[in-house]
Symmetry: C2
Subunit: 421 residues, 2 copies
């Protein structure tokens, strides 16, 4: 391939990546599970997710791309390469959302990948390697905990059974919801779990304020911070709110908030790098005139340094027990995702693509976890961030600019074309 051909292909691809089409697709997908406040509620394995997959499958059909689905419900859209037996280059993200989520978290990675495939197709540009857009199942983990179960099963971090046996809060099992997902795209060939990947790049909104503050359209992601998850159970005794003296109560709520306050102190960080969040806190039986007998809460704890995560996290149980008062407390660590550093050559590829596309960028770590972190042990990975308004995410007010989404997709396109040859 001559330098001229390369330059022509680059220019053709940059031209073919269509800002208006990309934005429209975000709006079309965002209409499925749309909430009154402008966000989406399209939780994993819901009828809304099934409808979202159907919509994307329809677009794929029009362009002649092929679909496959694996046993845990990950969906793949494939544009064939000139050497079909080579390992594919994969991009993508997820289309499940938080219960009060936004239109861009996850969706952008899938739609940016799709836009690159469509632009290549419309521009008549062939690649040696096949290109695949993945929509990983259950990244969010808001309905089925823990999240990233689709990519975790794909890479063998958890078993197929583990991915299928997770339950939501109503006791509904993922396995029982899966047929509806599969049925949404009957044309998708069912394949086995996992396949070799040449390289993986995931586009995503930053979900933080740094790019917007720096007025840069692109973030070249160098790593993902570690994330540990805990579940805490506090058990006391239900009692009548009108008759039981405070001294005789075993009030699970009172103990649980003492524990929560003590954990806030344990996790206090003058540099504000530790991310410590109690996002779910359930008080039972939840009746105004009954002293609570049971509280269940979650801890989401992140930091770029695995040693700090292990040390500080290892003290959660002792602190909880010391502040449980008359109640019993159980602490369970349910995941301990280590920080992930992306390979230098992948970071360099994305950086070069940003320069070639002419979009200013900064290098940055990812504060959020992503499917890319799960893929990292099995293939070289990278990520591309674009700004989101005020850094707001996991929120119905989540927003991004069409121009930024477009620029990030152009960088993705050049990087994928390079990797796919």
């Amino acid at each position: 391939m001559s330098d001229t051909t390369r330059t022509n292909r680059t220019a053709a691809l940059l031209d073919a990546i269509d800002e208006a089409r990309l934005w429209r697709r975000h709006m079309d997908l965002g209409a499925i599970g749309a909430t009154p406040k402008g966000g989406v509620n399209r939780q994993a394995l819901s009828p809304e997710e099934a409808r979202g997959r159907r919509l994307i499958a329809d677009w794929a059909k029009e362009l002649g791309f092929t679909l496959t689905v694996d046993p845990v419900g990950n969906l793949f859209i494939r544009r064939e390469g000139t050497e079909p037996n080579l390992d594919p280059v994969v991009t993508g993200s997820h289309i499940d959302s938080q219960p009060t989520g936004g239109k861009f978290d996850g969706a952008y990675g899938v739609l940016a990948g799709f836009e690159v495939l469509e632009a290549l197709e419309r521009a008549g540009i062939e690649t040696r390697r096949p290109l695949v857009v993945a929509a990983w199942l259950n990244e969010e983990g808001s309905r089925f905990m823990p999240g990233c179960s689709g990519s975790a099963a794909f890479t063998g971090k958890i078993s197929e059974a583990d991915a299928l046996d997770i339950q939501d809060r109503d006791g509904i099992v993922a396995r029982d919801c899966l047929p509806e997902m599969i049925a949404a795209t009957p044309e998708a060939e069912q394949i086995g779990l996992g396949f070799p990947i040449h390289a993986y790049i995931e586009n995503h909104i930053e979900q933080g304020p740094r790019l917007e503050e720096a007025e840069l359209p692109v973030g070249v992601v160098t790593s993902i911070q570690g994330m540990h998850r805990y579940e805490i159970d506090v058990r006391g005794d239900e009692a009548h709110a009108g008759t039981t003296p405070i001294a005789l109560r075993k009030d699970a709520f009172k103990s649980a908030i003492d524990i929560a306050k003590a954990l806030e102190e344990l996790m206090h960080d003058p540099d504000d790098v530790i991310r410590f969040t109690i996002g779910r806190f359930e008080t039972k039986p939840g009746s105004p005139n009954v002293v609570p007998g049971h509280v269940h809460f979650t801890i989401d704890f992140r930091h770029p340094d695995q040693d700090l995560l292990m040390d500080r996290g290892g003290r959660i149980e002792e602190v909880a027990k010391a502040h449980a008062g008359p109640c019993d407390v159980k602490v369970k660590r349910i995941s301990a995702g280590a920080p992930v550093a992306f390979p230098d050559e992948m970071v360099a590829t994305v950086r070069a693509a940003a320069e070639e596309a002419g979009h200013p960028y900064m290098e940055m770590p990812s504060g959020a976890g992503h499917d890319a972190g799960l893929l990292a042990p099995v293939c070289p990975v990278a990520m591309i961030f674009v700004p989101c308004e005020k850094g707001i995410s996991h929120n119905e007010a989540e927003n991004a600019l069409p121009g930024d989404l477009h620029k990030g997709t152009q960088v993705l396109g050049l990087a994928l074309m390079k990797l796919a040859g």
Copy 2:
């Protein structure tokens, strides 16, 4: 009526009140909505409550008692008096339960009243005044807040529309559940709201530990402490748990527990007479990796002194606002039930009945609220307590002794017979 006749009637009634039958009825009613841990979940206006009403109606039918139901769903069982136009003497309580409630709370008052009617019937004892057993709707207020809506509407404290328009947490309106309740007892004549009552006595388990500790089977209740209810809304901003620095968060959970701790301090009482309970505490959206944007919680605040309730309760809002951090907080008082003192002559009637039945007793205030408190403005009221195991109530482990239930019913029987003439 000669002294001899009176003594004969007393002896005949005491004999006719049947301990085994009364216990069996508690077990039969407790089987409806039974929970695995031995309690009941028979919440207001549920299919379980409808089945409970049907069961009691069947018993009433066998004995020839008549049934009526009013527009808000209060159910009445009437044994006619020799002078049917006199105002009736009423007894009763409620058969709705907490979601994890016991077999005796409420049910005992209805079944004790029914046992007195049955004993009078079987012993062939007539009374001048009609005797009525009331099953008041929605005493607990665990599903539909606030509770005692049936007796409150009966006495005109709230309007019929207010009682019917209350919603549960799923937005289900009481009005829409009522037809199922009414349909459970089609033989019940529909009557207007409210009728004159000559006197009202309610039997209930103590729901506290005092009678058991004193080894006394009967409590002669002199008053009901005041109960004020508040709802607190804390609003912040949802944000991503992995990317949002603590300093930039408006974490509604963090603010809400700071408020809760400050309110605990405000309500601290070295004498342990104040009853302060946060029983419902809802964190939204409730996803482990989303900083909570909204917390809603309830306060149940009781004391025998209305001035203390007003003064201390009046400071809740300022304390909440002072500890809300970056969040907004709204405080709403939703009820302010004043303490109720029972008329001396009613207390004396119950005391005399306990002495006549030969059951040792103590006089005591009620820590819990009851329908009797709502009836107090419209007629003379009294209450009779019996011990419950370890004072445990609003709990599936709630328990009482057949002998104590029987003794309390004997006291009720003599008091009702005296009042009904």
